[in-house]
Amino acid sequence: MRHFLMALALTAGASLLPLIDPAAADAGKPRSYQIVIEKFAFSPARLTVKPGDTIEWINRDLAPHTATAKDASFDTLRLKRNETMRAVAGSPGVVDYICTYHPNMKGVIVIVDGPAL
């Protein structure tokens, strides 16, 4: 069982994704979400998505960070300021993640199947 598909390309610069894509939501298609890393915290710290949804992490801090799943299902690796990394949600489950440099930074992705959230 894989909670995440491979993380997609690392990009630098401004975010390309809105928090939620209304058009995609209306059509029942996969959505895109963004988690902002700022002031040594993930925001939102807890995010619920569906299989096929895309999650993007963007680092706004001066300090580099990672978003690294405890079950190894995804890892953004080292994100410098304004760099982003995306991952696509796979099978349902709860995935806890941390920043490997600053392990007191914690987040959780909940992947649920079923009707629209």
């Binding site: 002031k39 040594f40 801090d61 001066l62 300090a63 580099p64 080292r78 410098k80 300021r81 490997t100 440099y101 600053h102 392990p103 007191n104």
Partner: protein, 172 residues
Amino acid sequence: MTKKLMIAALALVAATGMASAQDKLNDLEIAHAAYTADVIDIRYAHIALAISDTPAIRKFAEAMISDHTAVNEGAGALLKKLNAAPQDNAFSQALLKGAAEKQAELLSLRGDAFDKAYASNELGYHQTVNKILGETWLPIVDNAELKEFLAEALVTFKAHEAHAGLIAKMAK
């Protein structure tokens, strides 16, 4: 006096002792002192990676290298943009002198004794530098961009102080 209180007291003494050297620095001297403080902590981290086998200590040291390097790269980019160069000063020299003595002490230690000394030093060092940066330097920095940059750096250093508190507790 508890160990925690002793560490806090030592940090305060260190800050007081440096007071005469860090009064009335100009922007470029503050930039130099902040850069020097970063470099010193990177050196401590490299010593930790060379000596300690404790995963939590090594992870902390790796974070210090990553973060302080990023801060100094950001500072360098800002100074280049401002077409300015940092200026050496008595406070930077005092920092380097104190660091040389601490590095010699750390290099003589091994095992748990090293972990305890490194963690305690990281906590005290960040407490001292954060106090000076937040209470003395930030209020007197003239350049708005440098002030904003240093305020953001302080967010990073305060996170380090909290992290150092955890490893210091672990290494007791």
